[in-house]
């Protein structure tokens, strides 16, 4: 059996099959559904581990090509960059599944939820493994579709309105992407992802077209990456249940966009071509503006999840920014932020979900003193928040560090201003939350009985555990960044691949 061929496919099927089976279950079949979910995610986790070992330690590449159109194949390939997103989604899917099981206990339509949830992960894994543009496109669009039922899961008019906006944005983005890909393929034939890019030969004859295509691709991807002005769906989509928001923000949707940008810049256009086309400065400017704009908007939001959403808008553009800078360190920063932002933001959303679920807290102004009764949750939140600010030794600092160094390498010192301003603004909108949670006086209505005021009443472990786990990971990812198996080291491998090749 050719494992290189089968492993990537099994990787996909490990969530696809549970998804399909789950759709056939009834809401009440809790144990079966749960074991399917956990089993699938455990298999995925193990496979991710095996593939990580194979790629990193033994230098293997896993690749599966399946015939699709005339001369067009669907390619699934595992190499360091794809491993990053694969690892992130495998780990976070596992954790989020546990969280979601706890979160959605007794709520209606669980079957639907978990089915689409697993599909969503399948699509993300597909995006991660995509070895060429068309495979990427297929999973990218699949992701748009399968997340829609999750966004509108609650079925309230507000959720439906948000769902419409979400769908229109993502489908619109998909259309631009599709056009860009088709145009590119018409010029270049099937485009696969190779470090350094494969379409240099078009430069002489098709300069303008390549520029326009780049714009189309980035605009299409930018919708999911929530680059201003294409970001509006993200805060709206906050209406979804917490696990969805968590996964959407941390792994699936926004990461798909950001990852796509990384792929397009490094593996389709490549360093040389991107530089010669002068397309990266506009991208960097957009990303930079997004970082600032997202932070400013976050300051003005008082709904916890919306504030987090704008924070995501801001943070995800770090990836695009780093990619656009194109230096070695900036590449490391951008790719490592793929992972770091994921684990930090998912922590925050887990906590927000816990607050909403256990205390019915949705607004920051209601958070006073919540740390007293839920110290662990609040600790996780605090770690996440500090990570976002970029305080060492948390993961966020590592990304920021490399981006900062990278900006100088690429001779774009203005980026430092953005990074620092973003840090300061992150502090400005996260620290008050942390402050209120730990040091604020609890509201009257929260502590019903005075005697219980300092009583610890945490959420159940199925909700708390995931939050603590991701918080712990985000701490470790920063603390042990220099370790050979840290996300940072992986990102360095990724960057090396892209910097050395011509």
């Amino acid at each position: 059996m050719d494992w290189g061929f089968w492993l990537p496919q099994i990787m996909l099927f490990s969530s696809l099959i549970p998804a399909l089976v789950i759709f056939l279950l009834r809401d009440e079949q809790f144990w079966l559904r749960t074991s399917l979910n956990l089993g699938g995610s455990a298999v995925k986790l193990v496979l991710a581990g095996i593939m990580a070992w194979g790629v990193l330690a033994e230098g293997r590449t896993y690749e599966a090509s399946l015939p699709f159109l005339h001369n067009q194949e669907l390619v699934l390939r595992v190499e360091p960059l794809s491993l990053m997103l694969v690892g992130l989604s495998s780990v976070l899917w596992f954790i989020t599944t546990i969280y979601a099981i706890g979160y959605l206990e007794n709520s209606p339509n669980r079957t639907r939820f978990f089915g689409f949830f697993s599909l969503c992960v399948t699509a993300t894994i597909g995006i991660a493994l995509a070895g060429n543009l068309i495979t990427f496109l297929i999973f990218y669009e699949m992701l748009s579709v399968v997340t829609y039922p999750l966004v509108v899961h609650r079925g309230t008019p507000a959720a439906l309105a948000a769902g419409r906006t979400y769908l229109l944005y993502t489908l619109g983005g998909g259309v631009l992407l599709l056009l860009g890909i088709i145009w590119l393929q018409v010029l270049a034939g099937p485009v696969s992802f190779e470090p350094g890019g494969t379409i240099d030969f078009l430069l002489d004859d098709h300069r303008t077209e390549l520029t326009v295509i780049f714009g189309l691709l980035i605009a299409g991807l930018g919708v999911k990456a929530a680059i201003v002005p294409l970001h509006r769906w993200l805060p709206e989509a906050m209406i979804a249940p917490a696990p969805v928001s968590a996964l959407l923000h941390a792994v699936a949707v926004v990461k798909a966009g950001a990852y796509g940008i990384v792929r397009v810049v490094y593996d389709v256009y490549g360093l040389e071509l991107s530089n010669q086309l002068n397309v990266l400065l506009p991208l960097a400017l957009f990303a930079g503006f997004t970082i600032i704009y997202g932070s400013v908007r976050a300051l003005g939001e008082f709904d916890l999840k919306r504030r987090l959403a704008y924070s995501t808008v801001s943070q995800v553009s770090y990836i695009a920014l780093g990619t656009a800078l194109l230096g070695p360190a900036a590449t490391v920063g951008a790719t490592v932020h793929l992972i770091h932002q994921g684990i930090m933001k998912i922590t925050l959303f887990f906590c927000a979900g816990v607050f909403a679920e256990a205390r019915h807290i949705h607004d920051i102004r209601e958070m006073s003193g919540v740390g007293r009764s839920m110290p662990l949750t609040m600790s996780a939140f605090t770690l996440g928040a500090f990570g976002m600010i970029g305080v060492p030794p948390l993961a966020g600092f590592v990304s920021k560090w490399y981006l900062g160094i990278g900006s100088l390498e690429s001779n774009a010192p203005w980026v430092i201003v953005i990074l620092v301003a973003s840090s300061v603004m992150n502090a400005a909108y996260f620290l008050p939350i942390v402050y209120k949670g730990w040091f604020g006086e609890p509201h009257e209505e929260i502590d019903v009985v005075e005697a219980e005021r300092f009583q610890v009443a945490e959420a159940p472990w199925s909700l708390l555990g995931p939050a603590l786990a991701t918080a712990g990971i985000s701490l470790l990812a920063g603390l042990l960044a220099a370790w050979a198996y840290s996300p940072l080291s992986l990102a360095e491998i990724v960057a090396n691949q892209r910097m050395i090749s011509p």
Partner: protein
């Protein structure tokens, strides 16, 4: 196996007649056997063409031009295969559907005491036509006539096939004798009649010009005479009317929405393709020399308007079935955009023509499965809830998850979202448009997908909407119906995952022989 082409016509006819002759409940059994056999034979035919190339058969042993020949090339086999698969799905669904319907009709509200009515195959006394009984023979005939149409290689015989198709369709529409269905059926019949007459006049003119009726001979003749050109216009407009291309779609929404669900599915998924098939067959063979870019562009323009108007109308419909019917109006527009793309625009030797050809047909395929699934889904909802008003579907998603899942998948295929067969079609057509530099079609193809999303999403979101009021328990839906709805939707998805082989099938005997080798991505 080489004679599958004959049997694929004969078997549904034999089973249809047998079902008609036997009547009663056994009609269902015969119909099912017929469906299964026809499906198998369609598969055999596809296999045969796949392996041995174009299949040509001289009926009665008389050579053309004297006799009539049958021909199955990639295109025919492709459509016959699609008809076989969709037809089987519809048949299995219909088994349960009409069982339900017939039971509902059993306590007949007939006020006429002098004619005591009994259900089923009574001996003596007065039997009644139950829709379920009448359905099977008519459906078998419809299926046969589709196969006749796809296989015939003679323009006059094609006229007869078209009429056969029309009459079978109308008879199926009025199956339940509802007033709305009768108006719709009559309107459809008259419109189709008009279209047939235009087509027939074209046949006469071509015969007057060329003196032969065989498609192959006509293609070889490379006709360019005035009569042929006029005939081309007449035949085109007649077929556009039959294919309900905007603005000649006036008969379609009512006809497709008032028929019973399995019939609606067959009409939208298959019958419309009949006229479309005939048009492209003629256009790229008989009128290859006489056709002009301007005609192609105009047909494409109508298609573009159809996409926009059809989608907008779809969203405005209060009833699900009407919405789906208008969706067909829009999707038919997509099919016709293939004509300018595969037509003579620009370099006649360009590879994009073949891409558009395969893309358009793949879209037809995807639409066949997806639209069948949608209409069948609507049928399930209609029989379970007693209505199909979109506004009142709130909360039904939790009760019919599979139905809505299928609806969503089918919708994805219509939108052309990957991974679905619709995506493959759209991808190829877009490629062709970009390659040939016909940017205006790119825009409409892309916008069309978004417009489609508009109404599909509305249905889904209505269904997902949190249910505020308590509804009565819905009428139970047989599992088989749900399974078939899902199976058809799943097919529209699966065909998008591996399109290489179906696309290769389309190459066999395609009118762009010289181009085939050039299609290198």
């Amino acid at each position: 196996m080489s004679l599958a082409g004959i049997w694929v016509i004969l078997i549904p006819l034999i089973c249809g007649l047998a079902a008609f002759a036997v009547g009663g409940r056994s009609a269902r059994v015969i119909g099912l056997i017929g469906a299964g056999l026809t499906f198998l034979l369609s598969g055999l035919l596809v296999l045969h063409v796949w392996q041995s190339g174009v299949w040509i058969y001289q009926l009665g042993g008389w050579d053309v031009p004297l006799g009539i020949s049958l021909r199955a090339d990639g295109l025919s086999a492709f459509l016959i295969g699609m008809t076989g698969a969709v037809g089987l799905g519809i048949s299995l669904y219909a088994v349960r559907y009409f069982e339900d319907e017939d039971e509902a009709l059993t306590p007949d509200p007939s006020p006429d005491p002098s004619a005591p009515l009994r259900t089923g195959a009574g001996r003596g006394g007065t039997e009644v036509w139950l829709p379920g009984t009448s359905y099977w023979p008519l459906w078998m005939l419809l299926w046969a006539s589709l196969n006749v149409l796809f296989l015939s290689n003679d323009i006059f015989n094609l006229y007869v096939g078209l009429e056969l198709l029309t009459l079978a369709s109308v008879a199926l529409i009025i199956l339940q004798r509802e007033q709305a269905a009768i108006v719709a059926g009559l309107r459809y019949l008259l419109a189709a009649f008009l279209g047939s007459m235009a087509y027939l006049l074209g046949v006469a003119l071509i015969y007057a010009d060329a003196g032969v009726l065989d498609l192959g001979l006509l293609a070889d003749a490379e006709l360019t005479g005035t009569a042929t050109q006029v005939a081309g216009g007449l035949m085109a407009v007649g077929l556009l009317l039959k294919a309900a291309l905007f603005p000649l779609h006036f008969w379609l929404p009512a006809a497709h929405s008032s028929a019973p669900a399995p019939v609606s599915a067959a009409l939208s998924a298959l019958v419309v393709k009949g006229a479309f098939y005939l048009l492209i067959r003629l256009w790229f063979e008989v009128f290859e020399s006489a056709g002009t870019v301007s005609v192609e562009q105009m047909i494409g323009a109508l298609g573009a308007v159809a996409i926009v108007v059809g989608s907008f109308q779809a969203i405005r419909q209060a009833r699900l079935k009407l919405m789906i019917a208008y969706s067909t109006v829009a999707q038919v527009g997509y099919l016709f955009i293939m004509i300018p793309l595969a037509g003579s625009f620009g370099d006649p030797e360009a590879s994009w023509r073949f891409e558009a050809w395969t893309g358009g047909l793949y879209h037809a395929l995807s639409h066949g499965f997806a639209k069948a699934s949608m209409f069948l889904a609507a049928g399930v909802l209609l029989s379970a809830l007693g209505h199909d008003r979109v506004w009142h579907l709130a909360g039904s998603a939790s009760r019919f998850p599979v139905i809505y899942l299928s609806f969503g998948i089918a919708g994805m295929s219509l939108m052309g979202l990957p991974p679905s067969a619709g995506f493959v079609g759209k991808w190829l057509m877009l490629r062709s448009a970009v390659e040939s530099g016909q940017w205006w079609w790119v825009v409409i193809l892309l916008v069309g997908g978004l417009l489609t999303a508009g109404y599909v999403a509305i249905v889904l979101s209505q269904a997902i909407q949190h249910d505020v009021e308590e509804h009565t328990e819905p009428h139970p839906v047989p599992k088989l119906m749900t399974v078939m709805v899902f199976a058809l939707a799943a097919m529209s998805l699966l065909l998008g995952l591996r399109a290489a082989e179906p696309l290769e099938l389309l190459e066999i005997g395609a009118p762009f022989q010289t181009l085939m080798s050039m299609v290198e991505d």
